[in-house]
């Protein structure tokens, strides 16, 4: 799993020329071939809802009433706010997702943050920081 995640990570690092469809195919392949049997071992937070497979890196903080899964990877030191729902998504390291955001079929690059109320964000790659829907349009790429 680490090797395939590294490939996606490198593709995201080149944010001048994002090949969204290639990244999407890699994500779907990862879910299909590498996610089976993944389950949660450690997190900081109070009993969220998990639907396997879900993988959480070290020191991931989860808010209240969070629902994760199926097919969710969250990298180390990321913070997920209250009432967040994540499905079929990869969140890399040091990401902050604010309260009440619903991400489906999305990839969020490392050090990104989303801090506004938008319950439904679907089918996109997010690289950077967004405090509003307008901001999000500038830092997201459709897949």
């Amino acid at each position: 799993m680490k090797e395939k995640l590294e490939i996606i990570r490198e593709l995201l690092a080149n944010n001048q020329e994002i090949d969204a469809s290639k990244i999407h195919i890699l994500m779907l392949d990862l879910f299909k071939t590498q996610f089976k049997g993944l389950h949660v071992e450690n997190y900081i937070g109070d009993y969220p809802t998990f639907i396997e497979p879900v993988y959480l890196g070290d020191k991931v903080k989860l808010g209240d009433d969070v629902l994760l899964g199926p097919n969710v990877y969250i990298g180390k030191n990321s913070e997920i706010g209250d009432y967040v729902q994540l499905t079929n998504s990869i969140i890399f390291d040091n990401v902050k997702i604010g309260a009440n955001i619903n991400l489906e079929n999305c990839i969020v690059a490392k050090d990104s943050s989303l801090n506004f109320n938008n319950p439904n964000i679907k089918n996109c790659i997010i690289i950077g920081k967004a405090d509003s829907e307008e901001d999000l349009k500038k830092i997201s790429f459709s897949i």
Partner: protein, 240 residues
């Protein structure tokens, strides 16, 4: 069912959080509760259609912690895992103890940890099946979160709902949880091997289930000795 029993069941249904609200807040609380129930039913119906489309048999197993839900599923898997392609969805507030047990019996298992929720709902199941190729399964068994109260609020779209109680829960356990038995197709009284030593009135338990739901099929089992597991499989409409 008598009027008195109907009223009693209605009273159980009304013991909900909306009683903590007043005036407009109460109206809103009731409206939200109704919306949630309606949405669950719509989703459960869609799930059932999907299962039918792929010719998958499906069972929702409900019961208290320690009743023997996982043990009975393990016994069923021992007999059926080589004949059916089986997916077992295990619901628990936390841990993956049950999924680990199931995986030892050559069946695929998915653990859902519900955290603060005390029952699986149709959304949880839909999230799983929409991400699975249903061509790969003949049978889906859902083991609900262990308790006899919350699951009565949420149907999951399965062909059958089975409620398992055990002799060690006492002979009043069915009488005290009417809603679940009203909504179940099969009542299983497990740990029957302990009935004699605990002097449990099994006939009372059977009669209580039949009184609450005259259409319910009642069977006594022992997951420990394997007693009546074959009969249970037959009741599920599966070939042993």
């Amino acid at each position: 069912m008598s009027d008195k029993e109907e009223r009693e069941i209605q009273r159980f249904m009304e013991l909900d959080s909306n009683k903590l609200t007043k005036g407009k807040e109460r109206e809103l609380a009731i409206q939200i509760e109704e919306d949630i129930m309606n949405q669950n039913e719509v989703l459960a119906d869609q799930i059932n259609q999907e299962f039918k489309k792929y010719n998958i048999k499906s069972i929702d197993i409900v019961g208290a912690i320690g009743a023997g839900k996982t043990a009975i599923i393990e016994k069923i898997l021992e007999k059926l895992a080589s004949k059916y392609r089986i997916l077992v969805i295990c619901g628990d507030v936390t841990t993956r103890v049950d999924a680990n047990r199931i995986e030892k019996h050559n069946a695929e298992s998915i653990q859902i940890n519900t955290g603060r929720e005390c029952a699986l709902n149709a959304y949880h199941i839909n999230q799983i099946i929409k991400n699975k190729d249903l061509n790969n399964y003949d049978l889906i068994i859902i083991e609900n979160v262990g308790n006899l109260i919350c699951p009565s609020d949420f149907i999951l779209g399965t062909d059958k709902r089975v409620t398992i109680v055990s002799i060690t829960e006492g002979e009043w356990v069915i009488e005290k949880h009417p809603m679940l038995f009203k909504m179940s197709d099969v009542a299983v009284i497990n740990k029957i091997d302990l009935a004699e030593i605990l002097e449990t009135d099994v006939d009372k338990m059977i009669n209580d289930a039949k009184k609450i739901n005259p259409n319910i099929q009642v069977i006594t089992t022992s997951a420990k000795t394997g007693k009546n597991i074959d009969k249970l499989i037959e009741i599920f409409g599966l070939e042993n």
